[in-house]
């Protein structure tokens, strides 16, 4: 038999305890980074910079949470960056056409839902690998967005919409509040509801989940729709922040989202992940970028540092998992 016997007492440490420990380690890393940057440059602990940092991290964080749902099912969503760019165009276009703000927002989010449903359709009905179907929409959506805008940008004149991203609430940037607006229901969904359990089960062994009465197809629809809807939401936030709709925006954000998720302890093999992990991962990445800017580190170095960090953190996470076997 290829499995260890637990009668021999080699049982791993309970999983939840480990996951909390890992979360605390990441939080510790984030705090250490903040303290070090505070010592290195006086520009770091200024209200302006902290607001800036929170805004920078917010959008990646939301994308990373959506991405995590998909990765837990052992899938991947490469399209999220393209969805962000595409939906920024859609909302700008709708507003320019005189559609009321509320309707434009709802319609844009619905587009996100449809894109996610299309991904799941491709995976469930057409049998395409997640990598392929989302890669296809990545390039197609950018193309459609460019067709709509004729390759240029659509400016947004709706002040209520553009002011939102600059506003603060209780001294905290509204963009960061949006992270909380997404994260709290996401936490309830993933960790407290049965659908969260189903995501893990499908990612671990979809046949076992199916035979246990889990509607596997519906679970996959759910994961991809949530990811795309999070991306559409970020598209709205981005459009609000930069005041334009542009199909080429958010280039490479899918990789940022995946990196945040993986740094946050999500396993690309599925069935391992949390909501707080990717959030911390996103803000660690944002802090590194922010700190590098403040310290005038060449932006090329930022990319290298990010890459090294991914390797180091995931490597230690793997060691910990193996050690607990």
């Amino acid at each position: 038999m290829s499995v260890e016997t637990v009668e021999s007492g080699t049982g791993p440490t309970p999983k939840r305890g480990v996951s909390i420990l890992f979360g605390l380690t990441l939080l510790g890393l984030l705090v250490v980074l903040w303290l070090l940057l505070g010592l290195a440059t006086s520009a770091f602990w200024t209200p302006n910079n902290i607001s800036n940092l929170l805004r920078q991290g917010a959008m990646t964080a939301i994308l990373a949470v959506g991405q995590t749902f998909v990765i837990i099912t052992a899938g991947i969503d490469l399209s999220v960056g393209a969805v962000v760019g595409f939906t920024s165009v859609i909302v700008a276009w709708l507003l320019a056409a005189g559609v009321p703000l509320w309707l434009a927002l709802v319609a844009t989010l619905l587009i996100g839902v449809l894109i996610g449903a299309f991904h799941a359709f491709g995976i469930v009905r057409m049998g395409l690998p997640p990598f392929i179907i989302t890669l296809a929409t990545l390039t197609s959506l950018r193309g459609i967005g460019l067709l709509i805008t004729n390759g240029s940008t659509i400016s947004i004149t709706n002040e209520a919409f553009t002011n939102f991203s600059r506003a603060d609430f209780l001294g905290v940037p509204s963009l960061f509040w949006m992270v909380i607006v997404v994260a709290v229901p996401a936490y309830v969904f993933l960790h407290l509801s049965r659908f969260g359990r189903y995501l893990f089960a499908v990612g671990s062994n979809s046949e076992a989940a199916r035979l246990s009465g889990v509607n596997v197809n519906r679970t996959i629809y759910l994961a991809y729709i949530l990811s795309s809807t999070c991306a559409a939401f970020v598209g709205l936030l981005l459009a609000s922040r930069i005041g334009i709709g542009n199909a080429t925006q958010a280039e490479g954000w899918e990789l940022q989202a995946i990196a945040s998720s993986v740094i946050g302890g999500t396993s690309l093999f599925g069935a391992v992940g949390s909501v707080h992990g990717p959030l911390l991962g996103a803000f660690i990445l944002a802090t590194i970028n922010n700190g590098a800017n403040l310290l005038n580190v060449n932006s090329f170095w930022q990319r290298i540092i990010t890459g090294v960090l991914i390797i180091v953190i995931v490597y230690f996470d793997q060691l910990r998992r193996r050690g607990s076997r």
Partner: protein
């Protein structure tokens, strides 16, 4: 034509001179393995004689796996000594074990399913010429070995296209051609059909004839008596004794293993039969056709046949996993259409599927989640799961089924085969089903756990449920089923009442002899 002898000759020179038959080839002196404070293997002193077939029996968790891992260099020992051909050896890593001629064939085949049979047989040991692989030569050599061994297998087929049993034969042939002096079989027949088992036994005897020492680990005592010269028994990590096979019997071995008699294993209670729970009329689907049978409350209906005879397919069809092409299903007298698994569950059907690893468990998730997976709907209050009930339900199943784990949070992959099977069963016991389908519930499960599972059957029947028991192990269905149906090539070919036909007749019907 190249035979096994010629191919394995490539390695003969690398190995040390063989020990004379009947002299010690491998000696364990006080070999011991601790994981932390827990003793997985208490100091064991066992001598393996050159050219013998030495069986090792014991319940799950008795230390068999630990012993194999020590001998094949997978894990380091805590204390004790190992003497190979009289010399003390470290066996620090798998390579050292293999170079000395110690090999193992595992229960679950660890080969590459996408490569050809020949490529797998030569994997890591390819024949090269001018820096290129000699593919045709290898295929021919592999075919020669397979033919020589009497395996009717094509060497150029993709490994993954073979049955698990055939893959096991390939794995064995692979080990045999590496000039092995000492070969360990870990439950090799768990997934084999009778013919495949017979082929394997022939191969084992032949290897023995060539002077190879065999260690044979199995839960099936009749195999031990058929094959082995000597047998060692492990219990709770302790080596409790070694016997010559001619001087012992099944009863003594079982007593050594578990302190329980053989009558207590096949625990059967008769219950008054109630209403018909389910009836299939002329059911056809992928892999089975025109099956009619019914199950009443309090009844165990056994489905016997070779692997691939359509029993599991029938069960999956009944459960809504695969679409039916013809026939009708009546549930408690009412005609029903079971289109999906959810519907089957809602009616009250529970299925513990054939393969724990592929169908039964989410291995890298906690035991608790696995147990609760079918009942999360019931544990949900409003939007969220009631954490208290979730924990209570998991803990209750762990306790009732005596799943040996420190916590419900331990991953299912960390459990032994028997405990994993209990998790699969535990998933369904709390579901409150009226019909339980158990597909090969005791494969790779030790005698003690088997007895517990059979006792559980009686408890379910007592509560008024019906059971469909699928097994390739004739004594099991024979001793337990109130009605026994024999499957062959997707059809139901014979039916018998409890113990109404002889073993031989049932077997003949299954293999059409």
């Amino acid at each position: 034509m190249t035979g096994l002898q010629e191919v394995s000759q490539r390695h003969e020179d690398e190995l040390e001179a063989a020990v004379a038959k009947g002299k010690p080839i491998l000696e364990l002196r006080g070999l011991q393995k601790n994981y932390g404070a827990v003793q997985a293997l208490k100091p064991a002193t066992i001598t393996f004689l050159s050219g013998e077939i030495h069986a090792i029996v014991g319940e799950n968790g008795a230390g068999k796996s630990t012993l194999i891992k020590l001998l094949t260099g997978v894990i380091p020992r805590t204390a004790g000594e190992v003497f190979w051909q009289g010399e003390p050896v470290q066996l620090a890593n798998p390579t050292e074990a293999i170079t000395r001629g110690i090999n193992a064939v595992h229960q679950e085949v660890v080969l590459c399913p996408h490569l050809s049979v020949a490529a797998n047989m030569f994997l890591g040991d390819e024949m090269n010429g001018n820096g290129l692989m000699r593919k045709r030569a290898m295929t021919e050599a592999a075919q020669g070995v397979l033919d020589d061994l009497g395996f009717n297998l094509p060497a150029d087929a993709t490994l993954g296209s073979l049955t698990i049993g055939q893959q096991q034969l390939v794995a064995t042939a692979r080990a045999a051609m590496r000039g092995t002096r000492f070969l360990i079989f870990d439950e090799p027949t768990a997934y084999l059909t009778r013919q495949e088992s017979a082929q394997l036994f022939r191969l084992i005897r032949r290897l023995q004839g060539d002077g190879v020492t065999i260690v044979y680990i199995s839960h099936r005592l009749e195999e031990v008596f058929e094959l082995a010269d000597r047998v060692s028994v492990l219990r709770d990590g302790t080596h409790v004794g070694t016997r010559d096979i001619s001087e012992t019997n099944e009863a003594e071995l079982i007593a050594l293993m578990i302190n329980r008699t053989i009558e207590q294993i096949y625990h059967k209670e008769q219950f008054a039969l109630g209403e018909t729970v389910i009836e299939a009329r002329g059911l056809s689907g992928p892999g089975f056709s025109d099956i009619s049978l019914s199950v009443r409350a309090g009844e165990i209906v056994g489905l016997y046949g070779l692997i691939g005879a359509g029993r599991s397919e029938f069960a999956l069809g009944l459960y809504g996993r695969h679409p039916l092409s013809a026939g009708e299903v009546y549930w408690q007298g009412r005609k029903v259409a079971i289109d999906n698994e959810r519907k089957a569950m809602e009616l009250g059907i529970a299925l513990a599927p054939e393969s724990r690893r592929d169908q039964g468990l989410c291995l890298n998730l906690p035991i608790g989640l696995n147990i609760n997976l079918p009942v999360f709907r019931r544990l949900t209050r409003g939007l969220t799961i009631n954490r208290g009930e979730e924990a209570a339900n998991a803990d209750r199943q762990i306790r009732d089924l005596q799943i040996k784990t420190p916590s419900r949070r331990v991953l299912a992959s960390a459990m032994s085969g028997g405990n994993q099977q209990k998790i699969v069963i535990g998933k369904w016991v709390s579901h409150g089903a009226k019909l339980f389908i158990f597909d090969e519930p005791t494969v790779g499960v030790d005698v003690g756990t088997k007895a517990e599972i059979y006792r559980l059957f009686a408890r379910l029947l007592e509560k008024g449920a019906g059971i469909i028991l699928i097994s390739s192990y004739l004594p099991e269905v024979y001793e337990l089923a109130d009605r026994l149906h024999v499957f062959r090539q997707g059809r139901l070919v014979a039916s018998h009442d409890y113990r109404a036909a002889s073993h031989e007749d049932v077997l003949a019907q299954a293999i059409n002899a």
